[in-house]
Amino acid sequence: MMTTTGAPRREYVDGATAIVRAAIDAGCTFFAGYPITPASGILMAMMRELPKVGGVAMQGEDEIASMGMCLGAAMAGAKAMTATSGPGISLYSENIGLAIMGEVPLVIVDVQRLGPATGGATTVAQGDVQFVRWGTAGGYPVIVLAPSSVPESYGLTAKAFELAERFRCPVFLLTDKEIAMTLSAVDVDEYPSVGAVDRVEKDSGLPYAWEPPDGVEPMRRYGDGDAFRLTGSTHDEGAYITKNAAKVGALNEHLIAKIEAHRDEIEMVDADLESAANTLVLSYGVTAGAARAAVAGLRADGAPVSSLVVQSLWPIPETALDAALSGIERVVVPELNMGLYRREIERVAGDRTVVGVNRIDGTMITADEIALAVR
């Protein structure tokens, strides 16, 4: 955390820069992406910076190629990242599935803009919160982290690399135009310390294992040790295509269990709870700024109110939610969509009243609008 002695040590920086720095600090050595506002800053910075650490950064011929290159590079030993916005996630869809099926660690940054379709390229929105979770065929789980500030952009990017390796799966960093592109003063001592993320590897043997179902087998790497396979088709532990029901079931249950059984390792929230509160403001991403400001304002006026900023959106942080909902009668969920995450909160909120504060006109939700919904 920041030091309070001496002169302030602040820089003026945007979230995209923090993402790039964190990726490189976490050991990212491969990046591929395709230009798209508001994610292009990450592409350009990676093209500039990654060769300095011996890495490779590519501008693909399209988003599909960019994802494909990342998958190939990851299996050849690289820690890979890509960055795009909603329209690019649409094109990433099939390879998100391959990353899940092939158990390929990968960090995918979604700098959200207003949709649908081309939508508003330079306009903030949070419309992809369900899309990234369900963005490929089959319904299998992914991990989604959402920063609400520049320091969180740094910390959660590094965390995304860590979780991608831990669970051998694609991990999304769900940010948006404002968090990625807004310049703000940051105390340089506020950045968490990030070291290179380790990959657990082995140089021989089968590339996959389904027992125990929630176990994660060490990675193989092309060119290291003996030959091995990867396939996007339903397969056995050697990545040979199979329709054997026992093998198919074990594989697919494993893809779910390895994440669902380890929710406690993934859950991340910024809980600012008051025991006397009967209202909880639950926010994430860019809307957390106004939420925090609203809660501070209400408390200054003597109203007890709790705040929960969710950093790990998927899987749903149910343990932290249960704790935050204790004693709460009313939950206010501000979002730059018409209530896409609110429906998840309604599912766990029981009899509590859950209300949304929502905008889809490209403007930000204000602290006053949230405060009004709390009162």
Binding site: A7, E11, Y12, V13, T17, R21, T29, F30, T37, P51, K52, V53, G54, V56, M58, G60, E61, I64, A65, G68, M69, C70, L71, G72, A73, A74, M75, A76, G77, A78, E94, N95, L98, A121, T122, S148, S149, E178, M181, T182, L183, S184, A185, D187, V188, Y222, G223, G225, A227, R229, T231, A239, Y240, G289, A290, A293, T363, M364, T366, D368
Partner: protein, 441 residues
């Protein structure tokens, strides 16, 4: 003393028989690939066969090499990533003519890029696995399950396409070619992108529907203007190697990290202050706000700026909301600016909600054109034409912000001068600050 006998690997095939239909050309093509790998004495663990979807996508399972079996038409993208991450690997793509359609952009880009991979297209002129539908290479008039009355599309000349776009090695032949293994050897030892368009018979569909035979294959190629043989061979720089060479001079140089601003001044704020500038894109509004923010940081303030602009770069509005604050604050939109500078028509078009929200405690700075704008705030008109020297349009934002800071004094102007004088365009920016700080005098 014992002697170690090194026996070259006799085969890269597994013991399993191929799953292809009787008479299908895929098996013979794969056998020639096997012979080529034996000739080159590859280490199977250093070979990655990348395949995708369709009958050709079954191929990789019958080799003892490493394999990446991916999605339809994307094999070249995976192969590119593998080769870029580890240029020492032998990366071979086996795909079908279907993949040249759905993955056409990848084929084209790989040729232009010359990543050192070898692509073998097993081209049987239709989709065999899914029921004999037409592909990009189905000849005109060809009868398939989706062109039952004859194909109306012109077939893709894969070789010409990748050839004219830079590929290092381009060969067209068939599964019956006696020297196919040697062609594979040549392709795999050529630096850069190598592509072999190998025609073969789909005995399940295309042959049955079109009386297409081995005897007619070569003649047909020529009649369609697609000559067989070695079509392109050129010396190129392999991309993965070239990439590393091109970046050798910056390898090892430090990655840009945080650089804290030195604080040399004291600010005068006891609560957050918001300044909004509404101007035109291309008018350096964002850069001006950034300098004001940097002046704030030099005075121990926190700052943040939210920029709004259309997708066009130098046309339309540019509105920046800037916060200066004595304490760290979460990112929020500015609903009611303390200071609002409206400096162009584009900016005025976006000014309405801000002007409506402002009160008599707030300050609007604007140009003479908008002297009569409607707001409860105090309006100060600044006439750029009254300045002793002409003010460039790109300095107007900084001039107005400097005027605003002169009136409101959230921090010493010297801090702004330091910021303006330490970056790019220092001379121009310092002049803008000087003009802005004196224009209301």
């Amino acid at each position: 003393m014992s002697t170690i006998t090194i026996t070259p690997i006799a085969t890269f095939r597994t013991d399993d028989p191929y799953p292809f239909c009787p008479g299908c050309g895929h098996g013979p093509i794969l056998d020639r690939l096997n012979e080529a790998m034996v000739k080159l004495d590859f280490d199977p663990a250093r070979v990655v066969i990348v395949s995708d979807i369709g009958c050709s996508g079954l191929s990789d399972q019958y080799f003892t090499t490493s394999a990446f079996h991916g999605l339809h038409g994307r094999s070249i993208t995976y192969a590119t990533g593998i080769k870029l991450a580890n240029p020492d690997l032998e990366v071979i793509v086996i795909m079908g003519d279907g993949g040249t359609g759905i993955g056409g952009a990848h084929l084209l880009s790989a040729a232009r890029r010359n990543v050192g991979i070898t692509v073998i297209v097993m081209n049987n002129l239709n989709f065999g696995m899914t029921g004999g539908q037409h592909s990009t290479t189905t000849p005109e008039g060809g009868v398939t399950s989706t062109t039952p009355h004859g194909n109306l599309e012109h077939p893709l000349d894969i070789c010409a396409t990748v050839g004219v776009n830079g590929a290092a090695y381009v060969y067209r032949g068939s599964s019956f070619d006696k020297d196919l293994a040697d062609r594979f050897v040549a392709a795999m030892t050529t630096p850069g992108f190598a592509m072999l368009d190998i025609w073969d018979l789909c005995t399940a569909y295309y042959v049955r529907s079109n009386k297409f035979t081995r005897a007619g294959m070569e003649e047909s190629m020529r009649s369609w203007g697609m000559e067989p043989g070695l079509l392109y061979e050129r010396t190129v720089t392999e991309y993965a190697t070239g990439y590393r060479a091109a970046h050798a001079t910056i390898a090892g140089t430090p990655v840009a990290g945080p650089r804290p601003v030195t604080v040399g001044y004291e600010h005068a704020l006891d609560r957050p202050m918001s300044l909004v500038v509404a101007g035109s894109a291309g008018g350096k509004v964002r850069s001006a706000a950034r300098l004001v923010a940097m002046g704030g940081l030099r005075s121990g303030l926190w700052a943040a700026q939210r920029d709004d602009y259309p997708v066009t770069v130098k046309a339309g509005h540019s509105v920046t909301e800037l916060w200066l604050a004595p304490d760290e604050m979460p990112l929020t939109a500015v609903a009611r600016p303390d200071v609002f500078a409206v400096i162009s028509d584009d900016g005025y078009a976006k000014a309405g909600p801000y002007l409506a929200a402002m009160t008599d405690r707030d300050l609007v700075l604007t140009i003479p054109e908008f002297a009569g704008l409607s707001t409860a705030a105090r309006v100060v008109v600044v006439d750029p034409k009254a300045a002793p020297k002409r003010i460039p349009k790109t300095s107007l934002g900084l001039v107005f912000l400097s005027a605003a800071l002169t009136l409101t004094r959230p921090y010493p102007l010297d801090a702004l001068r330091d910021a303006a004088g330490s970056g790019s365009f220092a001379e121009v920016n310092l002049e803008a600050v000087a003009t802005g700080s004196s224009i209301l005098a």
